[in-house]
């Protein structure tokens, strides 16, 4: 019997390094490595499917078949704007890369609801926009004719494709994943929620782009930039085609940070850009501290580089450090997700989640990234509510009160979940992936998950008071995720993350956006809650009452502020007033600047 070949771990695909819209001819392409999976023409994979249907032209374009031997031998099609199959390849590659980054940082394989693949339409419509559409479970990319005022080297009238921008693809893909992980983060319940959605998508797009080492190096050499000045590196990020959202979210990264900006800024994009700038600042300071030794080594100890271009070897080392810190930042931001509340997120929550997630995994924080991020948030006025100080240990989420559950309640259940996780890890490892049948696996999982939810639900109801839940309102178990991670110190970290949801009635005062509550509960391997990250509703147990009252007032005030600023509703009838803010929940509206 012949010895079988082992399947590859990765598939390499050529993509544009920079948005061709920007018309930068050098450094045009890079190789994007994504985890290998068998693909049907489209490409159609397990979790994402590219469907090249153009609704404006009512036509399909020829799908690419990445399993074709000719394409396998040369890492896919060469970048070109003229062949729609390359567009499909690029959308698939970048979207897969985002998914892979989430998988690896979250410590589990992420699936969309019902394991239904997300559809990506590279040429969905004529128009200069791209957005994630939750109801259609799709990302729609537009194309539009270039005009004189833009388009660099494009001829006027020549089509410009939003699907050829790494940052746009990564940004929209992150919206889709964020929506998967926290489906209520696009309800405007406080001033930060929509801004967070935007900012987080920008952060992933920027730092994923920075993690491609070879283009970073090429860019350093081409621009003669030594990446030691903040505005240099920001300029680089902008040159990468960072042009999503309002266009210059990074502008504020070079502005003088000022806590007053945050106070008065309500528009999601502009507010989000403050968060992006904070994370970018933390990244940059960390990178600077990482290259100090290199600079000393290369300058005989002075640290002062002579004028003129820098040594290519040093450039390579600087690029590698920038890349490594970018990757660490990316992973830290993604990991934070498991420590975010299920609803009504604030920038302060994100800071606490970042700190907690990173602390759990990497208590000593050798890189200094955590410390630098805290400082960058502080100078921009991003403070969590109810923390005594911005010292690291105050920023950690409070540990859960000891034993709100008797551990045996759900420990058996958690063991089962972990077992399944191990099996799935085994099943997706490279040695057995060809034997693994994803379709069958999905069915089994759906079945077994269904059986576990009631047990968790019953547990949550029993411990409603300790979990900050309203005892009288229904509880929905919105998520149940085991997570296995290895810390920098080599320790295995095992957790199960449970999301619990509740909702109160929607009211006219909040523009039709319901008041939601719930908790993210992080359990250790023995079923002991370690963190209860609660967003209580009025009616929750006494210790949670002040937070509940504050949230309700905050949401009502925010709705009033939006109502004063938004003029759409004034032209509508009385019925519309009751639901006036729901209109702001669409990503098309968000990207169109409805606020």
């Amino acid at each position: 019997m012949p010895i079988p070949y082992s399947p590859p771990t990765h598939r390499r695909l050529k993509v544009y390094a920079f948005d061709p819209m920007l018309g930068r001819t050098p450094l045009y392409r890079m190789l994007c490595e994504v985890p290998y999976e068998p693909l049907r023409p489209g490409p159609r994979g397990e979790r994402i499917e590219v469907v090249d249907y153009d609704s404006s032209a009512q036509t399909y374009y020829t799908p690419v078949h990445l399993e074709d031997p000719y394409l396998l031998m040369r890492d896919g099609l060469d970048p070109t704007e003229a062949d729609p199959r390359f567009h499909q390849q690029m959308v698939y590659a970048i979207a897969s890369k985002v998914l892979a980054n989430f998988d690896s940082a979250l410590g589990r394989r992420l699936y969309f609801r019902g394991r239904k693949p997300l559809k990506l339409f590279p040429h969905a419509f004529r128009g200069a926009n791209a957005f994630f559409h939750p109801r259609r479970h799709a990302i729609l990319f537009g194309y539009f004719p270039a005009d004189e005022s833009r388009g660099g080297q494009n001829l006027p009238g020549q089509p410009v494709f939003t699907c050829l921008s790494h940052d746009i693809i990564a940004h929209e893909m992150t919206h889709a994943i964020t929506h998967r992980l926290r489906p209520f983060f696009f309800e405007p319940t406080n001033v930060d929620v929509l801004a967070f959605h935007e900012a987080f998508s920008d952060i992933i797009a920027i730092f994923q782009h920075f993690s491609f080492k070879e283009i970073l190096l090429q860019a350093i050499q081409e621009t003669q930039s030594d990446l030691r000045a903040n505005d240099e590196i920001v300029k680089l990020a902008q040159q990468f085609g960072y042009a999503t959202g309002g266009g210059d979210a990074l502008r504020t990264a070079v502005d003088k940070p000022d806590a007053r900006h945050l106070e008065k800024e309500l528009r999601p994009h502009a507010r989000g850009s403050i968060l992006v700038a904070a994370v970018f600042d933390g990244f940059f300071k960390t990178y600077l501290s990482q290259i100090q030794d290199l600079l000393r080594i290369s300058t005989g100890g002075t640290g002062l580089l002579p004028q003129g271009s820098i040594h290519p070897d040093l450039a390579a080392r600087l690029a590698r450090e920038a890349c490594a810190v970018a990757d660490a930042t990316l992973r830290m931001c993604i990991r934070a997700f498991d420590y975010l509340p299920p609803v009504d997120v604030t920038f302060g929550d994100f800071l606490r989640a970042l700190v907690t997630a990173d602390f759990e995994l990497n208590p000593r924080g050798e890189l200094g990234l955590r410390r630098n991020l805290i400082e960058a948030f502080r100078i921009r006025g991003i403070y969590p509510e109810n923390v005594r100080s911005l010292a690291e240990d105050s920023l950690l989420w409070e540990r859960a009160a000891p034993a709100p559950s008797t551990p045996e309640d759900i420990s058996e259940l958690l063991a089962e979940i972990q077992q399944e996780m191990i099996l799935e890890a085994a099943a997706t490892s490279r040695n057995s992936s060809l034997d693994w049948n994803p379709a069958a696996g999905a069915d089994d999982d759906a079945e077994s998950r269904k059986n576990r939810y009631p047990a968790i639900h019953a547990w949550a109801r029993r411990h409603a008071a300790a979990l900050g839940l309203h005892p009288g309102l229904a509880v929905q178990v919105a998520g149940l995720h085991p997570s296995f991670r290895v810390g920098i110190d080599g320790q295995l970290l095992v957790e199960v993350i449970v999301q619990l949801l509740q909702r109160a009635e929607a009211s006219a005062a909040t523009g039709g956006i319901p008041l939601r509550g719930g908790a993210t509960v992080v359990l250790n391997g023995f079923g002991q809650p370690r963190y209860v990250i609660a967003k209580p509703l009025p009616g929750a147990a006494a210790p949670f009452a002040p937070a509940a009252a504050m949230r309700q007032a905050r949401q009502t005030d925010y709705a009033a502020a939006l109502t004063a600023r938004d003029t759409f509703h004034i032209w509508q009838d009385e019925e519309f007033q009751k639901i006036r803010l729901r209109r702001l929940m669409g990503f098309a509206a968000l990207h169109g600047g409805a606020l």
């Binding site: 023409p41 078949h65 969905a124 004529r126 559409h133 600023r565 759409f568 509703h569 169109g592």
Partner: protein
């Protein structure tokens, strides 16, 4: 005791005010603020009749004279009367407009250009969409408010007798807080509270990028609706390549759903544009004798929040004795806190408004209630008022205009 008169014409959904002041010249002094009516506002007197009335009201012994003509912003419902005949012989002393009308200021040109391009593209694109006729009429009428209103604006920028000076306010070099003292109006001081030149407020004057919408005008640009790839790349469901397949759950039905997503935001764009132009409104505080009068045009949230945060304006606004309600009484053109904290007892409030079936929430009932709850004198243009207001009706029995006398 001498008095002066404020006349509010019943433009319906529109604005037109005439201030008449006594003088030693042997004729009264006149200040006209706006003259327009929205196309979708069909109730009440016709625009032609109203404009003729205004022209008659500025006619006296010395001929037709307006000492100061003020245009708060270029919306149709504030300027359409100037597109009608009858103005050529009117002698005008000065014309005041917002700084965004300045013919050579680059920032003003850019804003103006962006607003009018945005409007004309939207109108063209609307015409190209296959809309239900009633819906199309409505959207076109709505969008039309924002078109250049070229005829009226040409008159305001270049017409009238007397070669009036045009001033674009606030002037770039003006010291904030100092009032203007128009030569033609002795003793009158006018404070310019807006439109702001602060970048945060100016941003609100820029309509969102058209490209963000399906209604981008690309379709109307002509000739470019070809698919981006040639016929050799195109397939129908039937001719889809044999080695490939369309996902089972993407059916002919869902194809349609994808298309429908892009039909939604037509009105969104138009509302954003409307808001942008309202943001350019000239906001004036007149100090005439004992009286402090606020004419905020159609200023909305951005302008208001800046004004109410400015200590100088806070002090002056506490003295208000007259308020022209902004934007026809809509929800966010008169802040709740302004009504509560700045409108003094016995102040007079005039609301230029008219019901339009499509906009049942204008004027906003909660605003009317808040005003009624205070010790104020309130008149709306489309209803016969109580003292100290006095209505004059037209031959159909509709209010034509409402007068009120104020002590000097």
């Amino acid at each position: 005791m001498s008095t002066f008169n404020i006349r509010m014409y019943n433009m319906g959904f529109g604005d037109c005010f005439l201030l008449t002041l006594p003088s030693t010249l042997g004729r009264p002094l006149r200040v006209l603020i706006d003259c327009g009516k929205h196309k979708l506002s069909t109730k009440g007197p016709k625009l032609a009749a109203l404009t003729a009335q205004v022209q008659a009201d500025v006619t006296g012994a010395g001929g037709q004279i307006i000492d100061l003509l003020i245009v708060t912003h270029r919306h149709e419902d504030h300027v359409s009367g100037f597109a009608l005949p009858g103005w050529d012989n009117v002698q005008v002393g000065e014309v005041w407009m917002p700084w965004t009308e300045h013919p050579t200021d680059p920032q003003a040109r850019r804003i103006c250009e962006k607003q009018s391009t945005s409007a004309s593209k939207a109108v063209k694109a609307l015409a190209a969409l296959a809309l239900d006729p009633a819906e199309a009429d409505y959207l076109l009428g709505y969008a039309g408010n924002n078109l250049t209103n070229a005829k009226a604006m040409n008159l305001l920028h270049g017409g009238f007798q007397g070669s009036p000076e045009r001033r674009f306010l606030p002037e770039a070099n003006a010291a904030e807080g100092d009032p203007l003292r128009p030569a033609a109006l002795p003793g009158v001081e006018v404070y310019v509270l807006g439109p702001s030149r602060n970048p945060d407020v100016v941003r609100d004057m820029e309509p969102p990028s058209n490209e963000a919408y399906h209604l981008s005008g690309d379709v109307a640009a002509g000739g470019t609706s070809e698919p981006p790839f040639g016929p050799e790349w195109r397939h129908t469901r039937e001719t889809y390549p044999a080695n490939a397949s369309i996902p089972e759950d993407f059916t002919a039905e869902t194809e349609k759903h994808i298309g429908e997503i892009f039909d939604e935001p037509a009105l969104e764009l138009l509302v954003a544009l409307e808001k942008a132009v309202n943001g350019t409104s000239l906001i004036l505080l007149f100090h005439i004798g004992k009286q402090w009068l606020l004419f905020p045009g159609d200023a909305q949230w951005g302008s208001w929040s800046e004004i109410l945060a400015n200590p100088r304006w806070q002090t002056l606004l506490k003295r208000l004795t007259f308020y022209k309600v902004g934007h026809h009484g809509s929800h966010n053109a008169t802040p709740v806190s302004f009504v509560a904290e700045y409108l003094n007892d016995d102040a007079r409030v005039m609301i230029p408004t008219g019901e339009v079936k499509k906009w049942p929430m204008i004027p906003r009932q909660s605003l009317l209630d808040d005003l009624a709850a205070k010790k104020l004198h309130v008149a709306r243009s489309d209803e016969p008022p109580a003292q100290p207001f006095r209505a004059t009706l037209d031959s159909y029995g509709d209010v034509l205009f409402i007068d009120t006398e104020l002590d000097l």
